[in-house]
Assembly symmetry: C2
Homo-oligomer: 283 residues x 2
Protein backbone atom coordinates (compact mmCIF):
# COMPACT_ATOMS: atom_id res chain seq x y z
CA UNK A 1 0.00 0.00 0.00
CA UNK A 2 1.33 3.43 -0.96
CA UNK A 3 0.54 6.45 1.16
CA UNK A 4 0.74 9.94 -0.31
CA UNK A 5 0.54 13.03 1.81
CA UNK A 6 1.95 15.25 -0.95
CA UNK A 7 -0.40 16.30 -3.74
CA UNK A 8 2.51 16.60 -6.16
CA UNK A 9 3.69 13.03 -5.53
CA UNK A 10 0.15 11.68 -5.84
CA UNK A 11 -0.32 13.60 -9.10
CA UNK A 12 2.89 12.07 -10.49
CA UNK A 13 1.73 8.59 -9.52
CA UNK A 14 -1.66 9.20 -11.16
CA UNK A 15 -0.11 10.41 -14.40
CA UNK A 16 2.11 7.33 -14.54
CA UNK A 17 -0.99 5.16 -14.36
CA UNK A 18 -2.33 6.53 -17.66
CA UNK A 19 -0.11 4.24 -19.68
CA UNK A 20 -1.57 1.23 -17.85
CA UNK A 21 -5.19 2.37 -18.39
CA UNK A 22 -6.15 0.96 -15.03
CA UNK A 23 -9.62 0.47 -13.64
CA UNK A 24 -9.41 2.79 -10.63
CA UNK A 25 -11.95 2.61 -7.83
CA UNK A 26 -12.10 5.62 -5.52
CA UNK A 27 -13.53 6.06 -2.03
CA UNK A 28 -13.39 9.65 -0.73
CA UNK A 29 -13.54 9.77 3.08
CA UNK A 30 -12.98 12.08 6.03
CA UNK A 31 -11.16 9.29 7.88
CA UNK A 32 -12.48 7.86 11.18
CA UNK A 33 -13.04 4.78 9.06
CA UNK A 34 -15.63 2.26 10.22
CA UNK A 35 -17.35 -0.81 8.83
CA UNK A 36 -19.34 1.41 6.43
CA UNK A 37 -16.16 2.62 4.76
CA UNK A 38 -14.78 -0.92 4.88
CA UNK A 39 -17.79 -2.09 2.91
CA UNK A 40 -17.22 0.62 0.26
CA UNK A 41 -13.58 -0.46 -0.04
CA UNK A 42 -14.64 -4.08 -0.40
CA UNK A 43 -17.11 -3.16 -3.15
CA UNK A 44 -14.27 -1.36 -4.97
CA UNK A 45 -11.80 -4.18 -4.35
CA UNK A 46 -14.13 -6.69 -6.02
CA UNK A 47 -14.37 -4.78 -9.31
CA UNK A 48 -11.34 -2.49 -9.70
CA UNK A 49 -7.68 -3.25 -10.27
CA UNK A 50 -6.51 -0.23 -8.30
CA UNK A 51 -8.28 1.01 -5.18
CA UNK A 52 -7.62 4.57 -3.99
CA UNK A 53 -8.90 5.95 -0.67
CA UNK A 54 -8.66 9.63 0.20
CA UNK A 55 -8.62 10.70 3.85
CA UNK A 56 -9.26 14.38 4.42
CA UNK A 57 -11.33 16.15 7.05
CA UNK A 58 -12.62 18.86 4.74
CA UNK A 59 -12.97 22.17 6.59
CA UNK A 60 -15.07 23.64 3.75
CA UNK A 61 -17.99 21.31 4.46
CA UNK A 62 -18.32 22.26 8.14
CA UNK A 63 -20.31 25.30 9.21
CA UNK A 64 -18.71 27.76 11.64
CA UNK A 65 -20.62 26.33 14.62
CA UNK A 66 -20.03 22.70 13.64
CA UNK A 67 -17.64 20.01 14.84
CA UNK A 68 -14.66 20.46 12.49
CA UNK A 69 -12.10 20.74 15.27
CA UNK A 70 -13.38 17.85 17.35
CA UNK A 71 -14.20 15.59 14.38
CA UNK A 72 -12.46 12.26 15.14
CA UNK A 73 -9.02 11.87 13.52
CA UNK A 74 -6.81 8.79 13.80
CA UNK A 75 -4.68 8.35 10.71
CA UNK A 76 -2.73 5.32 11.96
CA UNK A 77 -5.93 3.42 12.72
CA UNK A 78 -7.36 4.44 9.31
CA UNK A 79 -4.22 3.23 7.55
CA UNK A 80 -4.42 -0.08 9.42
CA UNK A 81 -7.96 -0.62 8.11
CA UNK A 82 -6.90 0.31 4.56
CA UNK A 83 -3.99 -2.11 4.82
CA UNK A 84 -6.30 -4.91 6.00
CA UNK A 85 -8.59 -4.32 3.03
CA UNK A 86 -5.73 -4.35 0.53
CA UNK A 87 -6.14 -0.72 -0.55
CA UNK A 88 -3.51 0.20 -3.17
CA UNK A 89 -3.15 3.91 -2.53
CA UNK A 90 -4.11 6.27 0.28
CA UNK A 91 -4.14 9.99 -0.41
CA UNK A 92 -4.15 11.94 2.86
CA UNK A 93 -3.19 15.53 2.07
CA UNK A 94 -2.33 18.15 4.67
CA UNK A 95 -4.99 20.82 4.85
CA UNK A 96 -2.54 23.73 4.30
CA UNK A 97 -1.24 22.35 1.03
CA UNK A 98 -4.52 20.97 -0.27
CA UNK A 99 -6.42 24.21 0.44
CA UNK A 100 -3.65 26.84 0.33
CA UNK A 101 -4.26 30.41 1.52
CA UNK A 102 -4.88 31.71 -2.03
CA UNK A 103 -7.51 29.03 -2.76
CA UNK A 104 -10.63 30.83 -4.06
CA UNK A 105 -12.70 28.48 -6.22
CA UNK A 106 -16.14 27.19 -5.23
CA UNK A 107 -18.25 24.57 -6.96
CA UNK A 108 -21.98 24.72 -6.25
CA UNK A 109 -24.83 22.42 -7.30
CA UNK A 110 -27.82 24.69 -6.97
CA UNK A 111 -31.21 23.03 -6.70
CA UNK A 112 -30.28 19.73 -5.05
CA UNK A 113 -28.00 21.42 -2.51
CA UNK A 114 -30.56 23.79 -1.11
CA UNK A 115 -33.04 21.29 0.37
CA UNK A 116 -32.91 19.22 3.61
CA UNK A 117 -29.26 19.05 4.65
CA UNK A 118 -28.69 22.24 2.67
CA UNK A 119 -31.31 24.10 4.69
CA UNK A 120 -29.76 22.97 7.95
CA UNK A 121 -26.15 23.39 6.79
CA UNK A 122 -26.12 26.19 4.15
CA UNK A 123 -22.50 25.87 2.97
CA UNK A 124 -22.13 22.14 3.54
CA UNK A 125 -22.66 20.80 0.02
CA UNK A 126 -20.63 23.58 -1.57
CA UNK A 127 -17.74 22.40 0.59
CA UNK A 128 -18.35 18.81 -0.46
CA UNK A 129 -18.67 19.51 -4.19
CA UNK A 130 -15.64 21.81 -4.28
CA UNK A 131 -13.37 19.20 -2.71
CA UNK A 132 -14.90 16.25 -4.57
CA UNK A 133 -14.32 18.05 -7.89
CA UNK A 134 -10.69 18.60 -6.89
CA UNK A 135 -10.29 14.97 -5.79
CA UNK A 136 -11.95 13.58 -8.92
CA UNK A 137 -9.81 15.75 -11.21
CA UNK A 138 -6.67 14.60 -9.46
CA UNK A 139 -7.59 10.93 -9.13
CA UNK A 140 -9.62 10.47 -12.32
CA UNK A 141 -11.20 7.23 -11.09
CA UNK A 142 -13.19 4.87 -13.27
CA UNK A 143 -15.66 4.44 -10.44
CA UNK A 144 -16.44 6.30 -7.25
CA UNK A 145 -18.09 4.40 -4.37
CA UNK A 146 -20.52 6.26 -2.13
CA UNK A 147 -22.71 5.09 0.73
CA UNK A 148 -26.48 5.36 0.72
CA UNK A 149 -26.39 6.81 4.25
CA UNK A 150 -25.46 10.16 2.71
CA UNK A 151 -28.11 9.85 0.02
CA UNK A 152 -28.53 13.56 -0.69
CA UNK A 153 -24.76 13.83 -1.02
CA UNK A 154 -24.87 10.98 -3.54
CA UNK A 155 -27.49 12.82 -5.63
CA UNK A 156 -25.57 16.10 -5.44
CA UNK A 157 -22.34 14.40 -6.57
CA UNK A 158 -24.19 12.57 -9.34
CA UNK A 159 -25.47 15.90 -10.66
CA UNK A 160 -21.99 17.43 -10.31
CA UNK A 161 -20.40 14.59 -12.26
CA UNK A 162 -22.96 14.94 -15.02
CA UNK A 163 -22.87 18.74 -15.22
CA UNK A 164 -19.07 19.07 -15.16
CA UNK A 165 -18.25 16.04 -17.34
CA UNK A 166 -16.26 14.41 -14.56
CA UNK A 167 -16.26 11.10 -16.42
CA UNK A 168 -16.59 8.63 -13.56
CA UNK A 169 -19.27 6.12 -12.70
CA UNK A 170 -21.02 6.45 -9.35
CA UNK A 171 -21.70 3.28 -7.42
CA UNK A 172 -24.21 3.64 -4.58
CA UNK A 173 -23.56 1.05 -1.84
CA UNK A 174 -26.01 0.01 0.89
CA UNK A 175 -25.88 1.65 4.31
CA UNK A 176 -24.04 -0.50 6.84
CA UNK A 177 -25.83 -0.77 10.20
CA UNK A 178 -25.17 -2.08 13.66
CA UNK A 179 -27.10 -5.31 14.40
CA UNK A 180 -29.93 -3.28 15.95
CA UNK A 181 -30.24 -1.07 12.86
CA UNK A 182 -28.33 2.13 13.75
CA UNK A 183 -26.58 3.44 10.63
CA UNK A 184 -22.81 3.56 11.10
CA UNK A 185 -21.41 7.08 11.27
CA UNK A 186 -18.19 8.58 12.53
CA UNK A 187 -20.38 10.87 14.63
CA UNK A 188 -21.71 7.86 16.56
CA UNK A 189 -18.41 8.11 18.49
CA UNK A 190 -19.82 11.18 20.24
CA UNK A 191 -22.84 9.33 21.67
CA UNK A 192 -23.07 8.32 25.32
CA UNK A 193 -24.56 4.83 25.90
CA UNK A 194 -27.92 6.41 26.68
CA UNK A 195 -27.82 8.65 23.59
CA UNK A 196 -26.81 5.60 21.55
CA UNK A 197 -30.08 3.97 22.62
CA UNK A 198 -32.10 7.04 21.68
CA UNK A 199 -30.33 7.43 18.33
CA UNK A 200 -31.78 4.10 17.26
CA UNK A 201 -35.20 5.72 17.09
CA UNK A 202 -34.24 7.40 13.82
CA UNK A 203 -33.89 4.04 12.11
CA UNK A 204 -37.01 2.75 13.85
CA UNK A 205 -38.99 5.77 12.64
CA UNK A 206 -37.82 5.37 9.04
CA UNK A 207 -38.56 1.64 9.21
CA UNK A 208 -42.07 2.34 10.50
CA UNK A 209 -42.60 4.79 7.64
CA UNK A 210 -41.40 2.21 5.14
CA UNK A 211 -43.63 -0.45 6.69
CA UNK A 212 -46.64 1.88 6.54
CA UNK A 213 -46.01 2.45 2.83
CA UNK A 214 -45.66 -1.29 2.30
CA UNK A 215 -49.02 -1.74 3.97
CA UNK A 216 -50.57 0.67 1.47
CA UNK A 217 -50.24 4.18 2.90
CA UNK A 218 -50.00 6.64 -0.02
CA UNK A 219 -50.48 9.97 1.74
CA UNK A 220 -47.03 11.35 2.59
CA UNK A 221 -48.34 13.23 5.64
CA UNK A 222 -49.62 10.02 7.13
CA UNK A 223 -46.29 8.24 6.67
CA UNK A 224 -44.50 11.29 8.08
CA UNK A 225 -46.76 11.33 11.15
CA UNK A 226 -46.05 7.66 11.75
CA UNK A 227 -42.33 8.43 11.71
CA UNK A 228 -42.56 11.54 13.87
CA UNK A 229 -44.56 9.75 16.55
CA UNK A 230 -41.67 7.38 17.20
CA UNK A 231 -39.14 10.16 17.60
CA UNK A 232 -41.46 12.33 19.68
CA UNK A 233 -41.83 9.53 22.23
CA UNK A 234 -38.23 10.24 23.27
CA UNK A 235 -38.07 13.47 25.21
CA UNK A 236 -34.68 14.87 24.22
CA UNK A 237 -34.49 14.26 20.48
CA UNK A 238 -35.11 17.19 18.16
CA UNK A 239 -36.32 16.45 14.64
CA UNK A 240 -34.58 18.50 11.94
CA UNK A 241 -36.68 16.85 9.26
CA UNK A 242 -38.51 13.62 8.51
CA UNK A 243 -39.89 13.54 4.99
CA UNK A 244 -41.08 11.40 2.09
CA UNK A 245 -39.39 12.62 -1.12
CA UNK A 246 -38.97 11.87 -4.77
CA UNK A 247 -35.79 9.77 -4.78
CA UNK A 248 -34.32 11.57 -7.82
CA UNK A 249 -35.12 15.23 -7.12
CA UNK A 250 -35.64 15.12 -3.31
CA UNK A 251 -38.80 17.15 -3.75
CA UNK A 252 -41.25 16.49 -0.91
CA UNK A 253 -44.21 14.39 -2.03
CA UNK A 254 -47.86 14.63 -1.11
CA UNK A 255 -48.97 11.47 -2.87
CA UNK A 256 -46.48 8.61 -2.64
CA UNK A 257 -45.56 6.94 -5.91
CA UNK A 258 -42.55 5.63 -7.81
CA UNK A 259 -39.17 5.56 -6.09
CA UNK A 260 -39.52 7.27 -2.71
CA UNK A 261 -36.79 8.09 -0.20
CA UNK A 262 -37.62 8.56 3.46
CA UNK A 263 -35.15 11.12 4.77
CA UNK A 264 -34.50 11.83 8.41
CA UNK A 265 -32.22 14.07 10.47
CA UNK A 266 -32.31 14.43 14.25
CA UNK A 267 -30.34 16.12 16.98
CA UNK A 268 -29.54 14.56 20.32
CA UNK A 269 -27.95 17.32 22.34
CA UNK A 270 -25.29 18.73 20.04
CA UNK A 271 -24.99 15.57 17.97
CA UNK A 272 -26.67 15.52 14.60
CA UNK A 273 -27.48 12.22 12.88
CA UNK A 274 -29.00 11.44 9.49
CA UNK A 275 -30.36 8.29 7.87
CA UNK A 276 -32.69 7.27 5.05
CA UNK A 277 -34.54 4.35 3.51
CA UNK A 278 -35.67 3.89 -0.08
CA UNK A 279 -39.01 2.35 -1.05
CA UNK A 280 -39.98 1.40 -4.57
CA UNK A 281 -43.74 1.65 -4.91
CA UNK A 282 -45.20 -0.53 -7.61
CA UNK A 283 -48.62 0.63 -8.74
Amino acid sequence: MRIFRSTRAFRTWRRQQDALRPMIGFIPTMGALHAGHRSLIQHARRTCRTVVVSIFVNPLQFGPAEDYHRYPRDLSQDLALCHEEDVDVVFAPQVESWIPPDFQTRVTVDALSTRWEGEQRPTHFQGVTTIVTKLLNLTRPTRIFLGQKDYQQFLVIRQLVKDLELDTRLILCPTVRDPDGLALSSRNHYLTPLQRQQALRLYQALSAGKEAIRRGVRRARLAEKTMAKIIDAASNIRIDYLACCNAQTLEPLTHLQGKVVLLGAIRIGEIRLIDNLIVQIRQ
Copy 2:
Protein backbone atom coordinates in the same frame (compact mmCIF):
# COMPACT_ATOMS: atom_id res chain seq x y z
CA MET B 1 -10.54 17.57 -39.57
CA ARG B 2 -13.24 15.95 -37.45
CA ILE B 3 -16.24 17.96 -36.33
CA PHE B 4 -18.25 16.89 -33.29
CA ARG B 5 -21.56 18.45 -32.42
CA SER B 6 -22.50 15.61 -30.08
CA THR B 7 -20.92 15.58 -26.62
CA ARG B 8 -21.22 11.81 -26.44
CA ALA B 9 -19.32 11.29 -29.70
CA PHE B 10 -16.63 13.76 -28.66
CA ARG B 11 -16.28 12.01 -25.29
CA THR B 12 -15.83 8.67 -27.04
CA TRP B 13 -13.15 10.14 -29.30
CA ARG B 14 -11.36 11.66 -26.30
CA ARG B 15 -11.37 8.39 -24.40
CA GLN B 16 -9.92 6.57 -27.39
CA GLN B 17 -7.01 9.03 -27.38
CA ASP B 18 -5.89 7.91 -23.93
CA ALA B 19 -4.12 4.88 -25.31
CA LEU B 20 -2.09 7.15 -27.61
CA ARG B 21 -1.14 9.56 -24.80
CA PRO B 22 -1.29 12.45 -27.21
CA MET B 23 -0.12 16.00 -26.62
CA ILE B 24 -3.44 17.83 -26.97
CA GLY B 25 -3.57 21.59 -27.47
CA PHE B 26 -6.92 23.23 -26.79
CA ILE B 27 -8.36 26.58 -27.84
CA PRO B 28 -11.78 27.35 -26.32
CA THR B 29 -13.67 29.94 -28.39
CA MET B 30 -17.11 31.47 -28.87
CA GLY B 31 -16.66 31.26 -32.65
CA ALA B 32 -16.64 34.38 -34.85
CA LEU B 33 -13.03 33.40 -35.34
CA HIS B 34 -10.57 36.11 -36.39
CA ALA B 35 -6.81 36.48 -36.73
CA GLY B 36 -6.48 36.46 -32.92
CA HIS B 37 -7.94 32.95 -32.73
CA ARG B 38 -5.90 31.97 -35.78
CA SER B 39 -2.76 32.95 -33.91
CA LEU B 40 -3.78 30.82 -30.89
CA ILE B 41 -4.38 27.86 -33.19
CA GLN B 42 -0.98 28.39 -34.83
CA HIS B 43 0.71 28.47 -31.42
CA ALA B 44 -0.96 25.17 -30.58
CA ARG B 45 -0.17 23.65 -33.98
CA ARG B 46 3.55 24.32 -33.49
CA THR B 47 3.80 22.39 -30.21
CA CYS B 48 0.94 19.84 -29.99
CA ARG B 49 0.23 16.68 -31.94
CA THR B 50 -3.52 17.11 -31.70
CA VAL B 51 -5.22 20.50 -31.85
CA VAL B 52 -8.80 20.81 -30.55
CA VAL B 53 -10.91 23.97 -30.97
CA SER B 54 -14.24 24.38 -29.20
CA ILE B 55 -16.85 26.72 -30.64
CA PHE B 56 -19.65 27.60 -28.27
CA VAL B 57 -21.40 30.91 -27.64
CA ASN B 58 -21.78 30.43 -23.90
CA PRO B 59 -25.05 31.91 -22.66
CA LEU B 60 -23.88 31.68 -19.02
CA GLN B 61 -21.22 34.35 -19.51
CA PHE B 62 -23.59 36.99 -20.88
CA GLY B 63 -25.55 39.25 -18.56
CA PRO B 64 -29.31 39.64 -19.14
CA ALA B 65 -28.85 43.00 -20.89
CA GLU B 66 -25.87 41.87 -22.95
CA ASP B 67 -25.44 40.82 -26.57
CA TYR B 68 -25.92 37.03 -26.36
CA HIS B 69 -28.58 36.90 -29.05
CA ARG B 70 -26.86 39.20 -31.51
CA TYR B 71 -23.33 37.85 -30.86
CA PRO B 72 -21.92 36.98 -34.33
CA ARG B 73 -22.32 33.32 -35.31
CA ASP B 74 -21.06 31.80 -38.54
CA LEU B 75 -20.12 28.17 -38.09
CA SER B 76 -19.26 27.47 -41.70
CA GLN B 77 -16.81 30.38 -41.82
CA ASP B 78 -15.31 29.26 -38.49
CA LEU B 79 -14.89 25.72 -39.79
CA ALA B 80 -13.18 27.05 -42.92
CA LEU B 81 -10.62 28.88 -40.78
CA CYS B 82 -10.05 25.78 -38.63
CA HIS B 83 -9.58 23.72 -41.78
CA GLU B 84 -7.04 26.21 -43.16
CA GLU B 85 -5.05 26.02 -39.92
CA ASP B 86 -5.04 22.23 -39.90
CA VAL B 87 -7.09 21.86 -36.71
CA ASP B 88 -7.65 18.17 -35.88
CA VAL B 89 -10.92 18.35 -34.01
CA VAL B 90 -13.68 20.94 -33.65
CA PHE B 91 -16.16 20.54 -30.81
CA ALA B 92 -19.23 22.70 -31.44
CA PRO B 93 -21.99 21.49 -29.13
CA GLN B 94 -25.62 22.54 -29.36
CA VAL B 95 -26.59 24.71 -26.42
CA GLU B 96 -29.58 22.53 -25.42
CA SER B 97 -27.50 19.38 -25.05
CA TRP B 98 -24.41 21.02 -23.58
CA ILE B 99 -26.40 22.95 -20.97
CA PRO B 100 -29.53 20.81 -20.54
CA PRO B 101 -32.56 22.07 -18.61
CA ASP B 102 -31.54 20.26 -15.40
CA PHE B 103 -28.02 21.75 -15.43
CA GLN B 104 -27.42 23.29 -11.99
CA THR B 105 -23.68 23.45 -11.25
CA ARG B 106 -21.72 26.70 -10.99
CA VAL B 107 -17.99 27.15 -10.64
CA THR B 108 -16.85 30.45 -9.13
CA VAL B 109 -13.39 31.91 -8.63
CA ASP B 110 -13.99 34.42 -5.87
CA ALA B 111 -11.40 37.14 -5.45
CA LEU B 112 -10.10 37.49 -9.00
CA SER B 113 -13.59 37.42 -10.51
CA THR B 114 -14.99 40.32 -8.53
CA ARG B 115 -12.75 43.14 -9.81
CA TRP B 116 -12.82 45.12 -13.08
CA GLU B 117 -14.77 43.02 -15.59
CA GLY B 118 -16.46 41.32 -12.64
CA GLU B 119 -17.75 44.65 -11.33
CA GLN B 120 -19.14 45.57 -14.72
CA ARG B 121 -20.43 42.09 -15.50
CA PRO B 122 -21.29 40.38 -12.19
CA THR B 123 -22.02 36.85 -13.48
CA HIS B 124 -19.62 36.90 -16.42
CA PHE B 125 -16.65 35.00 -14.97
CA GLN B 126 -18.85 32.46 -13.25
CA GLY B 127 -20.26 31.65 -16.68
CA VAL B 128 -16.75 31.40 -18.11
CA THR B 129 -15.33 29.21 -15.33
CA THR B 130 -18.33 26.88 -15.27
CA ILE B 131 -18.08 26.14 -18.99
CA VAL B 132 -14.27 26.09 -19.07
CA THR B 133 -14.26 23.49 -16.26
CA LYS B 134 -16.72 21.39 -18.25
CA LEU B 135 -14.69 21.77 -21.44
CA LEU B 136 -11.39 20.98 -19.72
CA ASN B 137 -12.82 17.88 -18.03
CA LEU B 138 -14.17 16.62 -21.32
CA THR B 139 -11.14 17.50 -23.46
CA ARG B 140 -8.36 16.96 -20.89
CA PRO B 141 -5.84 18.93 -22.95
CA THR B 142 -2.11 19.01 -22.24
CA ARG B 143 -2.11 22.72 -22.96
CA ILE B 144 -4.75 25.42 -23.23
CA PHE B 145 -4.00 28.51 -25.32
CA LEU B 146 -5.47 31.84 -24.23
CA GLY B 147 -5.03 35.35 -25.58
CA GLN B 148 -3.61 38.22 -23.56
CA LYS B 149 -6.47 40.45 -24.70
CA ASP B 150 -8.68 38.79 -22.09
CA TYR B 151 -6.00 39.06 -19.44
CA GLN B 152 -8.28 38.94 -16.41
CA GLN B 153 -9.95 35.85 -17.88
CA PHE B 154 -6.50 34.27 -18.23
CA LEU B 155 -5.75 34.93 -14.53
CA VAL B 156 -9.16 33.62 -13.45
CA ILE B 157 -8.70 30.42 -15.48
CA ARG B 158 -5.14 30.02 -14.15
CA GLN B 159 -6.50 30.14 -10.59
CA LEU B 160 -9.33 27.75 -11.50
CA VAL B 161 -6.89 25.24 -13.00
CA LYS B 162 -4.70 25.39 -9.90
CA ASP B 163 -7.54 25.22 -7.37
CA LEU B 164 -9.45 22.38 -9.04
CA GLU B 165 -6.43 20.30 -10.15
CA LEU B 166 -7.42 20.59 -13.79
CA ASP B 167 -3.99 19.37 -14.86
CA THR B 168 -3.37 21.43 -17.97
CA ARG B 169 -0.72 24.01 -18.78
CA LEU B 170 -1.87 27.54 -19.65
CA ILE B 171 -0.12 29.26 -22.53
CA LEU B 172 -0.69 33.02 -22.71
CA CYS B 173 -0.35 34.27 -26.30
CA PRO B 174 0.16 37.92 -27.35
CA THR B 175 -2.80 40.06 -28.34
CA VAL B 176 -3.20 40.28 -32.12
CA ARG B 177 -3.87 43.82 -33.36
CA ASP B 178 -4.88 45.57 -36.56
CA PRO B 179 -1.96 47.48 -38.13
CA ASP B 180 -3.03 50.67 -36.33
CA GLY B 181 -3.07 48.92 -32.94
CA LEU B 182 -6.76 48.08 -32.32
CA ALA B 183 -6.97 44.73 -30.54
CA LEU B 184 -8.91 42.17 -32.56
CA SER B 185 -12.25 41.24 -31.05
CA SER B 186 -15.40 39.61 -32.37
CA ARG B 187 -17.23 42.66 -31.04
CA ASN B 188 -15.32 44.91 -33.48
CA HIS B 189 -17.86 43.65 -36.05
CA TYR B 190 -20.44 45.87 -34.37
CA LEU B 191 -18.46 49.10 -34.93
CA THR B 192 -19.39 51.63 -37.61
CA PRO B 193 -16.37 53.10 -39.48
CA LEU B 194 -16.52 56.19 -37.28
CA GLN B 195 -16.76 54.14 -34.08
CA ARG B 196 -13.88 52.00 -35.34
CA GLN B 197 -11.74 55.18 -35.44
CA GLN B 198 -12.77 56.14 -31.91
CA ALA B 199 -12.18 52.63 -30.57
CA LEU B 200 -8.51 53.01 -31.41
CA ARG B 201 -8.20 55.50 -28.57
CA LEU B 202 -8.28 52.67 -26.05
CA TYR B 203 -5.04 51.26 -27.42
CA GLN B 204 -3.59 54.75 -27.74
CA ALA B 205 -4.44 55.51 -24.11
CA LEU B 206 -2.87 52.28 -22.84
CA SER B 207 0.20 52.92 -25.00
CA ALA B 208 0.53 56.43 -23.59
CA GLY B 209 0.30 55.02 -20.06
CA LYS B 210 2.98 52.45 -20.86
CA GLU B 211 5.19 55.13 -22.40
CA ALA B 212 4.77 57.34 -19.33
CA ILE B 213 5.89 54.47 -17.09
CA ARG B 214 8.86 53.83 -19.37
CA ARG B 215 9.81 57.48 -19.02
CA GLY B 216 9.86 57.06 -15.25
CA VAL B 217 6.34 57.75 -13.95
CA ARG B 218 5.80 55.70 -10.77
CA ARG B 219 2.60 57.22 -9.41
CA ALA B 220 -0.31 55.16 -10.68
CA ARG B 221 -2.70 58.14 -10.60
CA LEU B 222 -0.45 60.07 -12.91
CA ALA B 223 -0.27 57.23 -15.45
CA GLU B 224 -4.03 56.78 -15.18
CA LYS B 225 -4.61 60.49 -15.81
CA THR B 226 -2.41 60.31 -18.89
CA MET B 227 -4.56 57.48 -20.20
CA ALA B 228 -7.90 59.07 -19.32
CA LYS B 229 -6.99 62.31 -21.07
CA ILE B 230 -6.74 60.52 -24.41
CA ILE B 231 -10.14 58.88 -24.06
CA ASP B 232 -11.83 62.01 -22.73
CA ALA B 233 -10.76 63.90 -25.86
CA ALA B 234 -13.34 61.84 -27.77
CA SER B 235 -16.82 63.03 -26.89
CA ASN B 236 -18.85 59.82 -27.04
CA ILE B 237 -16.64 57.23 -25.35
CA ARG B 238 -17.48 56.23 -21.80
CA ILE B 239 -14.68 54.85 -19.63
CA ASP B 240 -15.66 51.80 -17.57
CA TYR B 241 -12.20 51.63 -16.05
CA LEU B 242 -8.58 52.52 -16.82
CA ALA B 243 -6.21 51.28 -14.15
CA CYS B 244 -2.65 50.29 -13.29
CA CYS B 245 -2.72 46.94 -11.47
CA ASN B 246 -0.53 44.24 -10.03
CA ALA B 247 -0.29 41.80 -12.94
CA GLN B 248 -0.80 38.71 -10.73
CA THR B 249 -3.58 39.81 -8.36
CA LEU B 250 -5.14 42.68 -10.39
CA GLU B 251 -5.13 44.82 -7.26
CA PRO B 252 -4.97 48.51 -8.15
CA LEU B 253 -1.56 50.02 -7.42
CA THR B 254 -0.65 53.41 -6.00
CA HIS B 255 3.10 53.09 -6.49
CA LEU B 256 4.09 51.33 -9.69
CA GLN B 257 6.58 48.48 -9.33
CA GLY B 258 7.24 44.96 -10.56
CA LYS B 259 5.00 43.50 -13.25
CA VAL B 260 2.19 45.97 -13.95
CA VAL B 261 -0.83 45.52 -16.20
CA LEU B 262 -2.64 48.54 -17.63
CA LEU B 263 -6.28 47.52 -17.92
CA GLY B 264 -8.88 49.40 -19.91
CA ALA B 265 -12.56 49.01 -20.75
CA ILE B 266 -14.66 51.53 -22.68
CA ARG B 267 -18.13 51.82 -24.14
CA ILE B 268 -18.91 53.36 -27.48
CA GLY B 269 -22.68 53.50 -27.65
CA GLU B 270 -23.76 49.99 -26.68
CA ILE B 271 -20.47 48.39 -27.68
CA ARG B 272 -18.07 47.46 -24.92
CA LEU B 273 -14.37 46.96 -25.68
CA ILE B 274 -11.46 45.90 -23.46
CA ASP B 275 -7.69 45.86 -23.90
CA ASN B 276 -4.54 45.78 -21.79
CA LEU B 277 -0.77 46.17 -21.89
CA ILE B 278 1.82 44.71 -19.55
CA VAL B 279 4.89 46.61 -18.35
CA GLN B 280 7.74 45.05 -16.45
CA ILE B 281 9.33 47.72 -14.24
CA ARG B 282 12.95 47.08 -13.36
CA GLN B 283 14.08 48.95 -10.27
